[in-house]
Amino acid sequence: MNNSRKTQAWISLMIWVVIIAAIIAAPAVLPVFRLNLLGRYLSLAIVALGVDLIWGFTGLLSLGQGIFFALGGYCAAMYLQLNSAFEFPNGIPEFFGLYGVEKLPFFWEPFNSPIFALIAIWLIPSLVAGVLGFLVFRNRIKGVYFSILTQASLLVFFNLFNGQQKLINGTNGLKTDVTLLFGQMVGSDVVQRWFFWISAVLVIFAWLFSKWIVRDRFGNILIAIRDDEARVRFTGYNPTIFKTIIFAIAGGLAGISGALYTVQSGIVSPQFMTVPFSIEMVIWVAVGGRGTLLGAILGAVVINYAKSLVSEALPASWMFIQGGLFILVVTALPEGVLGWIQRGGIRNLLVKVGFSRNIATYPKLEIADREDMKV
């Protein structure tokens, strides 16, 4: 046990060194376009951390994280739009003019305040997730039922936002790249570079936060709920509360992620709440390794980067690759790449293929390892 923990720690440490080095080097090496993409993918890693917390640790497969992601994005975009609305008629965002709306809808008002907006970005998605989660968990709806209901909620929110032109510009969404922040255009290189740094720092914070959540007994309870919810109940815990809390936390992370993604892609629209996007989030985590927080981050960044590269070269093939990835990771690599490596996957593979010269000693080492675990 000690040995494998040590190897795991070493692997994580090495990966972190690589990640941090890459982040620091990126602005110098990458052109602005690529840097911006990387920044977006780093922000997606935050929503992936949330998915990992609820799915990898607690066993709740949500297919509706797009809701919270989009809510965070809308909160950020509403503030930015208001912040630069002074030049338009009635002092309200431009799009309202198209639909003949002259008065700001009431729920826009608080977003004049930057502090409110910053809090709303994570608090509103958290609250929505908390309420939705509580209503579902309270009735002990779980497994695929939960997944289906989250997917249906996603569709509901999509329709809700898509249809309301007069309130939030409906299907066109809210643009952020031409808005102002501290007197600078949000879409400008300078501001984008800043958002890259903010994304990088927030990924690390989100990781530390998630790590803290699962570090001790709270994390153990989540795992226990995933494995045997009834037993948890008879041990005197109320799983509903724990599930609601972790779902709300994941919702908050999704909100932060959505806000960062919005300001870096220049727009938030109901497209953030389409069914495929929310399921994709799950596959990032699945490929990276569910139950390993680092895996969620790596999965989100690497898969999205691969997606953009492949889509540029061969647009039609990405769907095949992605579809194949879903099937492959579920049938052949259920622990994900990082989980596989942590369990000695590479070593085992080398032994299998015959590359390793130490074949004879490895089985012994394996046994020694197990003996070690017993002590």
């Binding site: 709270f218 008879f234 041990t235 724990f242 809390i245 675990m373």
Partner: protein, 251 residues
């Protein structure tokens, strides 16, 4: 006689017309060790389900420490002081032995104390004491999933004890155990009674005999007879149920 710790009054449970329990009455005194036996389908597990809140009885009342348990949810009942061990061992396989016990002994069982607080010294002592009892001290950091069947059974009993319940409900604790383990389990349960109230369900007669406790025989959802092991064994009704009517045993 002091007031009973647990009292079941006229409990009836019906699953779509099938009566799993019918007008069941039973009471347990504090500190008592009680064995409940009965052929398959007698309603033993349903009987535990009713006490622990998993199944809501169609009729009747369960009184524990002078309050009714009907309508209370499982975790509330567990916090009131009723611990349950399942038929097949159910421990958290992806957590270590230590972590399993840590979840059981934690107080209060609420999210924020768990997230922010740490185990107190007393609780840590209690965990190592429990691990000593079940002889798993050396495997504190192994995953519970890697334990043998018998060790899992014991870990679950230890978790139960760690909850400090007033009433322990133990469902078939010796299923799949070796003879030696069975004896040790019987001694363990005996040593727990007195301080705790223990209710054991099983159909291993040797094991029940070794418990040396009053026995309640369930049959078709009703109490067939109550008394010491000898009384029960010589009761004609019990003999009929166990030996005389093989058709019913097949149920």
């Amino acid at each position: 006689m002091s007031s009973p710790l647990l009292q079941l009054k006229d409990i009836t449970v019906s699953f779509e017309g099938f009566l799993a329990l019918e007008n069941l009455n039973l009471s347990l005194q504090p500190g008592e060790l009680r064995a409940v036996i009965g052929p398959n389908g007698a309603g033993k597990t349903t009987f535990l389900d009713v006490i622990t809140g998993k199944v809501r009885p169609t009729n009747g009342d369960v009184i524990f420490k002078e309050q009714s348990l009907i309508g209370k949810r499982e975790h509330r009942i567990a916090r009131l002081g009723i611990g349950r061990k399942f038929q097949s061992p159910r421990v958290f396989e992806n957590l270590s032995v230590y972590d399993n016990l840590a979840l059981a002994v934690a107080i209060p069982k609420k999210p924020f104390p768990l997230l922010l607080g740490r185990l107190q010294g007393l609780q840590i002592d209690r965990i190592s004491q429990l691990m000593n009892i079940i002889n798993l001290n050396s495997r504190a950091t192994s995953l519970a999933g890697s334990l043998s069947h018998g060790q899992k059974q014991w870990l679950e009993i230890a978790m139960l004890v760690g909850q400090k319940p007033d009433l322990l409900l133990v469902d078939e604790p010796v299923a799949g155990l070796t003879d030696e383990e069975t004896e040790l389990t019987a001694d363990l349960l005996k040593s727990l009674s007195g301080e705790n109230t223990v209710l054991v369900i099983d159909h291993d007669m040797e094991f029940i005999r070794r418990l040396d406790s009053p026995v309640t025989v369930l049959h078709q959802g009703q109490v067939l007879c109550e008394g010491s092991m000898e009384t029960v064994q010589n009761d004609p009704k019990v003999i009929e149920v166990y030996l005389g009517q093989p058709e019913e045993e097949k149920l």
